[in-house]
Amino acid sequence: MLNISNLHARVEEKEILKGIDLEVKPGEVHAIMGPNGSGKSTLANVLAGRDSFEVTDGTVEFEGDNLLDMEPEDRACEGIFLGFQYPVEIAGVSNMYLLKAAINARRKHLGHPEIDAMDFLALIKEKIQLVKMNEAMLYRGVNEGFSGGEKKRNEILQMLTLEPKLVILDETDSGLDIDALKTVSDGINALRSPERAIVLVTHYQRLLDHVVPDYVHVLAGGKIIKSGGSELAQELEKKGYGWLGPASPDSVVSPEAVKSQRAEQGV
């Protein structure tokens, strides 16, 4: 589904991603972990097409197409969803309206007619229960005056409503209390399916207790320095990122290698 090869990216003059290789197949859940400043959010934003980041080398394919040639809105319409680390507030534009516009943009892109107003209402009312949000929040401005946790729930609501093929969640777990973390995790798990892939960008292991990933990658200094199964996350939690030492490309383990290793272990 997603194939990243030797991806280099910079912001202004500073090189942040220094050669990322990653393959994500349908049905898989990948966690990308790493210390602050390692490039995790940059990777998420580059995939979504934020133009303040400049890709200087490498390729990204999404379902066989060159993702880097696509505008952000086209990426979204093709089924890529980025859950923001810091969802922005848009005063005056109601949450409901943004959601409807997003659904219709995608439907238009796929050649479908606009969603019927009643169907939309029914859909929204179903999804909002999953994230335990008050319906009144649908009528408020997008994220306007929302608490940190409410903003993240709202991201999950958008994700559930849009039903993307590839979900990228950028530190969706940060700033959540335990209940909210549980709700957000349930939302993510509800979306897990054999056709869909999920990439979780996170700093902490705690989200991964609820959403158990198939693969964990450690990003440091703009490179993936270690890959493994979900147990890697637990090990990191215990030992800290320092355990892996300075970034070294030699320690990169391909997902294939992990898979065969897991098969050997009977996981």
Partner: protein
């Protein structure tokens, strides 16, 4: 970020689509202003002696006045002697008795603008076949003469007078004489004095006691003949307990020279009367270099003369090279209410200095001001508002909210709120915000599949929502078109 603002710039650069000139023979007076020109206009309109005297007095006063220079706008000096003060479509001088007699070219022009002039078509809102036809009466002003007025009969049944001001001078001189110039005196300001001297036409509305006007009244202004200043005069009188909603909308054809427009609008609301005055203004703003746009120097004032009366101004200003406009309310009657809702958009080199004045005279008077300014390109915009509480105005209340939205980094927004409070029981609130459509907001929308253009429209529309809500349905559609956005509200 550089490409970002370029893209934004392109988004806001939409070509003016109403730029066409109708080829008509005009009966135009030579440029210049003197007593003879005023006498010519007055004679042409077969006015009574008192009105000619009134005009001449205004002219005498105007000659002693200076053009105001305090507004935050810049333009080369206007040569008032280079302007022609009268232009009438020739075919109208015979006075068309019905729409069939109206120059087909005129009707064609209106059709291009999407104005439903034909009475049958408008009435078809009731009939089957043409859905969504608004229930609106149109008094079309083409250059300086009203050429067609619809719905007269239905309004007449209700006792409502809705006609051109020239006709009102002929048919209802006592009403015109009683109210004309009582809200905006001839000596009020430079442009109002000029208007009083040379006004050529405009609308007159009279709603008798206790009558709720059965439909929205609407005038479409259109400046057509080249280099002709347009000086509209509108007078609306709502007697005790009556209600009226009046819509004013404008587009103008493209041209190269700046055109001066100095209208005067006077509203009078007696006890318990309500007047809602809505404007959608889309005059030619000039090209990207600011060349050729309309100068819109307008005096609009409403007098809440009676107790518990209410006047509400709603305006959507997207056109004109320069806008100088402060629709105001004089709250004389005890318990009277004044409201001002405004959206002003400046793009390219457009300049707008607009706002309102709320003068609280009576007790328990209330006013609300919601102003939304949008600046794009190199547009400059100023909100200028005065809230004045006079000594006798016990328990007066005002709420003011001024919000500015900036698109790109070359535009400007300024707020000049003035308050004068002379009664300690007054209660005033003022809120102001300035925001910018940020790259992060646009990216957020785009990451949800919404194109940048739609995202800008959505955000601008959301910003203006509080004002759009105040517009009558028919006009909300137009405002929507003007800002190039689909309104929120289908759901939510």
């Amino acid at each position: 970020m550089a490409t970002q603002s370029q893209e934004l710039e392109q988004l806001v650069k939409r070509e003016y689509s109403a730029g066409f000139v109708t080829d008509l023979e005009a009966d135009t007076v030579e440029p210049g202003l003197n007593e003879d020109v005023i006498r010519f206009i007055s004679a042409k309109k077969e006015e009574p002696e008192w009105l000619l005297e009134w005009r001449l007095k205004a002219f005498e006063h105007w000659k002693t006045m200076k053009e105001p220079g305090w507004a935050h706008v810049h333009y080369p000096p206007i040569d008032y002697q280079a302007i022609s003060y009268y232009s009438a479509p020739k075919s109208a001088s015979d006075g068309p008795k019905s729409l069939d007699e109206v120059d087909p070219k005129l009707l064609e022009t209106y059709e291009k603008l999407g104005i439903p002039l034909h009475e049958q078509e408008i009435l078809a809102g009731v009939k089957q076949g043409i859905p969504n036809m608004p229930n609106v009466a149109v008094d079309a002003v083409f250059d300086s003469v009203s050429v067609a007025t619809t719905f007269k009969d239905r309004l007449a049944d209700a006792g409502v007078i809705f006609c051109s001001i020239s006709e009102a001078v002929r048919e209802h001189p006592e009403l015109v004489k009683q109210y004309l110039g009582t809200v905006v005196p001839t000596s009020d300001n430079f442009y109002a004095a000029l208007n009083s001297a040379v006004f050529t036409d405009g609308s007159f509305v009279f709603i008798p006691k206790g009558v709720r006007c059965p439909m929205e009244l609407s005038t479409y202004f259109r400046i057509n003949a080249q280099n002709t200043g347009q000086f509209e005069r509108t007078l609306i009188v709502a007697e005790e307990g009556s209600h009226v909603s009046y819509l004013e909308g404008c587009t103008a054809p493209q041209r190269d020279e700046n055109q001066l427009h100095a209208a005067v609008v006077e509203l009078v609301a007696l006890d318990d009367a309500q007047i809602k005055y809505s404007t959608v203004q889309n005059w030619y703003p000039g090209d990207e270099e600011g060349k050729g746009g309309i100068y819109n120097f307008v005096t609009k004032r409403g007098d809440c003369r009676g107790a518990r009366s209410k006047i509400c101004w709603t305006q959507v200003e997207t056109g004109s090279a320069i806008t100088w406009k402060y629709p105001s309310c004089v709250l004389q009657g005890d318990g009277s209410v004044g409201e001002f809702y405004s959206v002003a958009l400046t793009n390219n080199l457009q300049q707008a200095d607009t706002g309102t004045k709320m003068i609280h005279i009576g007790k328990n008077t209330r006013s609300t001001i919601i102003s939304k300014g949008i600046s794009a390109g190199r547009g400059e915009q100023a909100y200028r508002g005065l809230v004045k509480i006079l000594p006798d105005a016990d328990n007066a209340r005002n709420y003011t909210q001024c919000d500015s939205l900036l698109i790109g980094d070359q535009c400007g927004a300024h707020t000049f709120p003035y308050t004068e409070v002379k009664n300690p029981s007054a209660h005033l609130e003022h809120e102001a915000t300035t925001s910018k459509i940020g790259e992060d907001q646009l990216f957020y929308c785009r990451a949800r599949g919404i194109s940048e253009e739609d995202a800008v429209n959505m955000i601008v529309n959301g910003f203006c929502k509080e004002v759009f809500k105040e517009l009558p349905m028919e006009f909300a559609v137009e405002a929507q078109k003007l800002l190039g956005v689909s309104l929120e509200g289908a759901v939510g």
